[in-house]
């Protein structure tokens, strides 16, 4: 049920994005990319903890803001230093996204099939 609701939220967001006339300036696109990955990671983490029944609102919100800001800050620092520091954030979030997805898959599968 919860997964369906979040997928619905994703669809609403996509529709909003399609019909909004805004676009992101080139200079900020790197930051937005990293913010997307951070938000994706937080969202999947939220689903997972929700399915596991140990969801905490404060943890969720603080994780979302802290992750996004840290990722953007790291990107900015990388730009200042002339190194691709944002790759570190991409790798960490990428790994966590896979982990969270694997956990969610197991939890959801466990609900419908119990082999």
């Amino acid at each position: 049920m919860g997964v369906v609701v979040t997928l619905g939220g994703l669809a609403v967001g996509i529709l909003l994005g399609i019909f909004m006339p805004w676009s992101i300036p080139q200079a900020l696109s790197k930051y937005f990319a990293i913010a997307i990955v951070a938000a994706l990671d937080t969202g999947l983490g939220g689903i997972r903890s929700g399915l596991e029944g140990r969801f905490g609102l404060a943890v969720f919100i603080s994780g979302f803001t802290a992750n996004t800001l840290l990722a953007a800050g790291l990107t900015y620092l990388g730009d200042m230093l002339g190194g691709d520091l944002y790759l570190a954030a991409i790798v960490v979030f990428g790994v966590r996204i896979f982990e969270n997805l694997a956990k969610i898959r197991r939890l959801v599968l466990g609900r419908f099939w119990s082999f």
Binding site: L7, L10, S23, S29, G46
Partner: protein, 238 residues
């Protein structure tokens, strides 16, 4: 506990969806604006624009020939004056006695710790050679067949040298029409440019020619901002 995680997570997923689509949209917009910024593509873009430049120059010369034809049909009186103006403006090829100076990078192997920058020909070197030739009485000068006119530049653009906005590459051949003996003497002056270049191992060979052919200036119209003004009134002598 079970229910209240769905709302915040849904909000976050709305944000994710929104960000993803806006990002994809603006990325594809930018891709249309700037097809690609990769080095290989930029090289191709440079090549094609250079090719186009060449084509336009060709067109320009045929059009200029047509203009000449039409003019010669119309005006014969001003012909002689035009010829001398064309000569001064670099709009006709010229021939005469003069020098041919070939300049090449140093062939000596670099000693340890030696700056490789000193072994290559720079735009400054060409500029000084040309200046020396002019000081020695050169009337018309060309570098790699780029006729030097009043607006011609000899600049450095990355690893190449630009003359008349055209890239030139070694060996640099400077042709100068004028009194060959004086110009050669000007170059060979003690403590002069030739000695300076030879110190750095730059290879310079000078040959006198009884007939040096310098092509016409191939660029377009030079004056966009400058307009002829009324000539200043002749100053009365006291």
């Amino acid at each position: 506990m079970e229910k209240n995680w769905q709302l915040p997570v849904s909000i976050v997923s709305i944000i994710v969806g929104f960000l993803v689509t806006t990002q994809i949209k603006s990325q594809s917009e930018q891709r249309e604006l700037l097809p690609s910024r990769r080095l290989e593509d930029l090289v191709v873009m440079l090549k094609t624009s250079e090719q186009r430049n060449q084509d336009l120059l060709k067109e320009l010369s045929t059009l200029r020939a047509q203009v000449k034809e039409l003019e010669s049909g119309k005006i014969r009186l001003a012909k002689k004056q035009e010829a001398s103006l064309d000569l001064a403006a670099g709009l006709s090829p010229v021939v005469g006695q003069g020098l041919e100076v070939v300049v090449q990078d140093s062939a000596k192997p670099l000693a340890k710790g030696e700056d490789p920058n000193t072994a290559i020909v720079h735009n400054d070197d060409l500029l000084r050679l040309v200046n020396e030739l002019k000081a020695g009485g050169a009337e018309v000068v060309a570098v790699n067949d780029q006729r030097l006119i009043d607006t011609s530049e000899i600049t450095c653009a990355g690893t190449t040298i630009l003359v008349n906005k055209t890239r030139i590459a070694p060996p640099f051949v400077i042709k100068a029409i004028g009194d060959a003996q004086t110009m050669e003497a000007a170059l060979n002056m003690r403590g002069g440019i030739l000695e300076y270049l030879q110190f750095y191992g730059i290879q310079v060979s000078i040959s006198r020619k009884s007939e040096v052919l310098i092509p016409m200036y191939s660029g377009g119209s030079q004056y966009k901002y400058a307009k002829p003004a009324a000539p200043a009134a002749p100053q009365e002598s006291k």
